[in-house]
Structures are given as C-alpha cells and as structure tokens.
Subunit: 258 residues, 4 copies
C-alpha cells in the first residue's frame, strides 16, 4: 500500500486516491477497460461516469479507454454545478493535469440530475449504431423509437424511474432515438427532452453515434447496458434473417396455476 | 491461505469455503466468468448449478456473472427439497446475505432429479435464441425441435441418459424447444415434460430465451453446452448462406475395412 | 522450481516434465488454450501434436482444451510405431493415467511420416466447416478443392514440402477437401491420399468437420493455421457479399523497375 | 530489475533495453500482442513501427505478433537512411540475431519522412480487406476511395497533416485505395503517391491486403487505426443491410444557439 502523495490543496487529488477497488476513481478505469474489450469504447469513443452522493467522477476526453488510470479522472460537485448560472461552464473539484474534460459531461449530468442516476455509460457500440441506421431506413416517423418485445433479456430492465420491479418477457422495451448533433454537448437538450417524453426509459439512442444508458447504481447501469447491447445485436441479426422485432405472442398459462 | 472465518452455525458458510479450485463453490464463479466472455450470461442472464451428492450449489439471481464470488453461492439439499410438500418453497442450507435465489432453481433441480445430472448450465446465448426464432419462422408444427445431422461436432453429445457412448457423425441431434413463460419458474413443468418426451436429450431450448444444458459431470455439461452453442452458431450461419440443417449423406466406407 | 516427482520407470513421466515453456509437453497445453479462445477446439473438439525428433507428443481425447496440463500428454516413438505391424495398435512411451488416446493420432502421424512435419494442428473452426458446406452447395465435382487467389494473406504459406520460399500474392492457394468418415481414424487413408495427390499442400479440409494443418515447425504450423483460418473467414464473408474467391487480376508493374 | 547484459558494441542492443513500458522497444511488442487479439496481425501478417526522434523501431518479419519480445526489434536512423543513395539498402543500427527485416520497412519510413509521423501501423484486418473488395465490386473508377460520412466515429481523425483539430460528424472521411503489388516493398511508390494526392489522409488502404495508418504519436496512430477499423466493420455491416455509406443529412441546429 503506497501512502498518498502530498498534492496541492486546490486540486483535491485525494478524491481519486483509494485502495478500494469499488471506489469510483478505480471502478471507472476497470469498467472502461472491460468495455474496450466489448468494442464499446473503441478509439477513445464513449465513456462512463459515476455519481457518489454529490460527487461526480468522469473519464476525460480522448484517452485510450483500456489504459485509463484513476489519476485521469475528473471530479465535480453536482450541487455546485447546479448552482452555476452558466450550464456550459463547469467547475471541477479535481482535474487531471494533461487532459480535457469529456464532451459527454453535460449528458452524464442530465442522467444524474433528472433521473438521480448513480452511473451513466456511453458506448459507440456497432450494434447501437446499426439499430439507428436500420430504423432510419424505415423512413421518417418510423425512426424515432427502437421497440422490441417477447425476448427474455428484456427482463434486464427496470420498469422505470421510481417504479418497482423489472419489465416482463412480454413487455415492449422502448428506447427513444435522438438526432446526432455536430457537437456532443449540444445533444444535452435533446437527451433531456427524450427523458421528459419517455420518463421510464433508462437509455437513449443517438442516431449514427451510439447510446447513453444509466441506472441507480453502477451494477444497474452496467447490466442494463449489457442487456441493451445484447438486444441491439439480436435485433440486427433478426433483421438480417428477416425476423420482426415486434410480435404478438399469446402468454403461456402454466397448467399448475390454472 | 486464510483461515475460515467463524460463521453463524445456522448459515453453514463452511459449505462454500474451500481451497480446492474444483470445489463447486469455487468452480461456479470460475465457469460463470468464462461464460460471460462467451456472451452466454450477459447482463446477469443465465447461470449454472453443480450437484455434489445430495448438495446442490446455485449461483444467485441478478449478479454480474463475471464478478461472482464463492460467498454468493446458495446451497440446498436435494433430499430435503424432494421431501418438501411445496415444490415452490425452497429451504436453503446456506444463503448468501445480500442476494435472491435464482428463478432457474427449479429448472436446475429438474435436471438433477429427473436425470441425475451433476451440473446444469443455462445460457442466453444469441445463437440459441436465433435458432428458436428461425424455427418459429418456419411455422407452427415445425418450431418444436432443432434438428441437425452430418456435422462432426454432434459427436460431442452422449447417446442419452443411462446409455453408453456418444452420438455419431451421421446421427441426428434433436433438441426440443419449449415455449417461454412470463415467470421463469413456470418453465419447470414444460422442461420436465420435454425431458419425459425426449428421454435422451441433454438440453432443452426455450423459445426467445436461451437453452438449458446438463450432464453427469461438470465436464460433460460444459463441453456439451459448448458443442451445442457451436452447432447453434453454425446453424444460424448455414441459414444465412441458404444451407439446410438436415442432409442425406451416404456414409463413406473406408477401403481398408472393405 | 519443483523437483520432478519420482515416477514408475515404465511410464516415462519425465518425458512430459520440463521447466522450458518451449518443451512440447508445455507448449501443447499453451497452444490449445490459445486455440480455445479462437473457437478452434470448442467442446473438446480438435487438438494438436508436436514432433521432436523421434518423439511425438499428443493431446489426449476428450479433454477441455483450455484446461490441459503437461501431465495429460501422450508420447510415442515414431520409429517404434512405424516398425509396428498393426498401424492401428499404437504403443505409447508415456500415457496419462486418466485419458484415452486421441482419434486424431494416426492423422497427426501421417503429417509426421509423409511430410516430415514438426507440428500438426486440427481445428473444428466454424469457418473451415462453412467453407466445406459452401463448396458442397456448388455440387459434385466442384466440392473437392478450396481455391482462392489474389489475397495478401496467401503469402503466409510455404510453396510446398521440400520447396523454398512462400506462395505469392497472385498465386492460387489450393486446399483439398476429403469426405468425413464415421470414425475419425478412418480419415487417415483419405488424408494420405490427399497428401499424395496434392504434394505441396500444408492442409486438408474435412467436409462438415474441420481442417488439418501442419508445418515443419510449431511456428510454421501455427501461423499457417492462422492464415488459413483468416482466409476461410474471408471466403465465407466474400460469399455473403457475392464476391468470387478466384479473380483474374493483372499484376501491378512497379515503375521504378520498368 | 535485471542489469543490462553487456553487448557487442556494434549491435547497439542497449537501444532495445529499457525498463520503461513506454519505450518503443517495449511498446511495439505490447501493441502487437493487443493487435493480435483484434485479428489485425494474424499469422505474422501486419506490423507496427515507432519513431522516436531520429530513431525508428520496427517489428521484424515473420514473427508471431503476440509473442514478440523487445530483443526482436530492429532500429535504424532516419537521417542515415535518408542520406543513403540506395533507398532499398537499409543500414540498421541494431538488428535482432535471428530475424529478417520487415518488408513493410520502406512503407513505415514513408509515413515518417513524408508526414513526420511518430508511429505507423499496418493491419491485415478482415474489415479493411472486405471494404476494398466491396469497392472493387462497384467497378473501375469507383474503387479508388473509401468514403463515409455522418458517423460519430469519424471525429476520431485529425483534419490533416499540419492542420488543427479533428474531422466533424458531418465531414466525409476519404481513405485512398492503392493496388496491391506482388512484393510489399513495391507498394512504397504507390503509398507515397497517395500521400501526395491526399495530403490530409492518415491512412491508405491496400486492395486485397489491408491498411496502413499513422499518426503524430503512438496514441494518435493507434486510436485512428481503431476508429478506422470500427468504420470499416460498420461499412461492411451497412453493405450487408443495404445501407449507403454516404448520406445527405441536414445538421441539427441546437435551439439554445438559435
């Protein structure tokens, strides 16, 4: 165990120094390394953020995600940020010396502020991008929602913010799709609009870009993100085989109960 | 080597504490971590159970499968469970403090009770789900069995419960497909029915859900599950290339024997 | 470093005990573990054998390939085996206590005896099987050779047994396809026939089964097997995109040389 | 920490001996091992080179890329090489004892000399090869450039040599395609021509062969190579789904700014 290095008081480096592997500053690099092997954060794309109470930990912009270190992490205060008059000016409690803040920052903050999320993950997964392209191919009006039902993995999602329990096998999972903007920060207003319009969703697809997924905890954000990527992959494969995403299947009545 | 922690007598924590990597409480986490990399237990889906004599070890519900620990494992007695009047009320010899029992439990028990299996694996593999969807597309009456023949990997399966030897290259492997139910526990009666109807099978597909695979030992359950996933993947790829799963191929007669 | 265990004189266990990671008894498990991650030896299928002078080291039948240990390895003498009257009766210098010999043994021996190979690898790779299925779909007469040209990776193959140098970019790589037999040992005569008919080949495809690949050294066998699997995968993907495997491409003449 | 071995003065082995994991002689093997898992350098194909000031470090020809060691690395002086009258005769400051120089050497040097690159990567990625094959299928005149726009990952590329900033979401990424030659060294003049014709590109595709990607630093070369491979994969998948690579999408105007 190395003793913490003395740091300049104003950079709060102690916020990213912990021996606990579950500490957000350790967990974000571990998660991002895992996501890299899944093809979610290729070529510095994508990222992840964890909220612990008022503190928000964020991966920086432009790093190789499988090589990230705790010392690369930004920390900011949610309350201080909310009190700021200029939403686009962010004041960090702690900044890494050689990085730039992630353009995803305001999008992660939206999940924390509007949904009370504890973790938000952004991936550039091929499957997510392909799903938005397949929807786009179906024409205007049919390209704003990904819908799938009657797949067991749908049970991996909560019913919605503040609701108890998870979706069921026969439920339709609906993920809104927003347009991509030239600058990632500009996605924020559209992400927030989608959150307002789809109060139960834990994810928003961004056309030709990827997906944002969140959850109350790191566990929930990560497993929902995995389940969603599984469903996106399945949906693309179903499309290639000419199988519809939405079906009308009569629930099976167990005889024991009848 | 850490000395075993003192535990409350009634929770039998010693049942999941061993230095032997082959002990079921160590083996289940190791297997599940491997299955996670294969995409079989994404987003907490799927699971595995091992029977050692009368003791059944089961992964809990809702954990990240690649992060599971021996202390997460449930243990129950097969005999005590069989003697219980209420099949749905399960009495655990040992329970982890922060988990819920897996909904797969009665399905694993069916493999142990009806087949004398030593291990049962449940995956949400894409290939398994896609095979059930392709069958479904072929219409009612043609969607209840996955059949494939004349592929070498078919040799990876035993001839059947209580039978000696493995299937041959020219044999047709038949895997029954059961309908998915809203609640996973309700699958049990249909799984048991399929076991009765297909006494030689080591696996049952669940439509739009995944597959259950078992074997007399961990080795056999795991290698049969791998071989089956290989065949499911091949079957999907054959479908994409317009190749039939069942063919009529004349056995080659080796000249040396003729 | 553990001192070698005393072993019964007649089992020659010292033949599989070495601290050198390049020793065949250590190298075969390391290679097989790597091949498992590539999907080449799923569910105990496939295998590998290394020849060091007169000694042949072979992975046993039916083991989980990613878990193999040096103590699982069979060793036999090529000369003693050649002198035996019954080719099907093999006398092992060293046998593991709990395994059966691999059915691939006579096929590996063919590569060592007829080609002087130093290593032979057998995979059940999906890509190999799909290539044989695509050829089969083209009808009798067109299903006995895999041919591909004008792909850079073709340079990964030697020109042939006893020849110098490698194939060129414009050369056509030809891999013969033999029919699968009910019993793997019965493949031997057909493999040997293919070796006679295609004296330059370093590989033979087995329909609906996989591929055998060899080389003068472990390095050459392994890299040729990788290059071939790459080409099989590319060939399947080309088929899916409607691209032909054989093309007529005019060589580019570098101006500097003209 | 081992003390450096004494080496013959004329082979400069100290140039490849360092405890710093970021030293080029350590970084090239680490990168190549990672690239092997991505399928970029299968069967000894592909490679990587790093320039540190005047010194150029190059992986040798014909090694298993996931097993490379610092002692396998060649080192040459860019200035000494440029002063040589015969471009094809290369004088190495340091050579490994048992290897041959890579045929990619003059192509790597082109990136260093003409673009001031700090790192150049060459892959045989399936996706790169398939993209060139799909372009070829579109016929002469339409096969010399890979073009894609309106995909977020395009932001992973710099605007061009000596320019500031990166491409935007709506920008069209253009990668030239050159013909493959029988001998890899002969590609050099065509690569250099493509660099002249496309002064802003950081990559050149080689038909039926792979791709060369470079960047000012190892970080930039590697992340641009990852982003490009991501786009190649997406492009192949889009082709399979009948989706066009170039689209006309109206930029979204954020309301906050309007």
């Amino acid at each position: 165990m190395t003793p913490p290095n003395p740091q300049p008081a104003n950079n709060n480096d102690h916020l990213v120094q912990s021996d606990d592997p579950e500490h957000p500053a350790n967990l974000i690099p571990a998660l991002c390394a895992k996501f890299w092997t899944l093809g979610w954060v290729t070529g510095t794309g994508g990222g992840a953020s964890i909220r612990d109470g008022d503190l928000v930990y964020i991966a920086p912009s432009g790093v190789q995600k499988e090589l990230m270190k705790p010392s690369d992490i930004y920390v900011l205060s949610l309350a201080a940020q909310a009190a700021s008059l200029d939403r686009r000016n962010r004041i960090y409690l702690r900044s890494p010396p050689n990085h730039k803040p992630s353009q995803c920052t305001p999008l992660f903050l939206a999940a924390f502020n509007k949904r009370g999320a504890g973790c938000c993950i952004h991936t550039h997964s091929h499957w997510a991008v392909l799903v938005t392209l397949i929807l786009e191919q179906q024409g205007p009006g049919k390209d704003r929602e990904f819908r799938i039902n009657n797949i067991e993995q749908i049970k991996g999602f909560g019913r919605g913010y503040g609701k108890t329990g998870n979706l069921g096998y026969h439920d339709t999972l609906v993920i809104p799709v927003i347009e991509n903007t030239a600058h990632e920060e500009d996605l924020t207003e559209f992400l927030e609009e989608a959150m307002d319009k789809y109060p139960d969703t834990y994810a928003v697809l961004v056309r030709r870009h990827g997906v944002y997924v969140w959850g109350e905890t790191v566990h929930k954000a990560k497993t929902q993100c995995e389940s969603l990527d599984y469903l996106f992959q399945l949906a693309v494969e179903m499309k290639q085989l000419g199988l519809p995403w939405i079906t009308d299947i009569e629930p099976v009545v167990p005889r024991r109960n009848s």
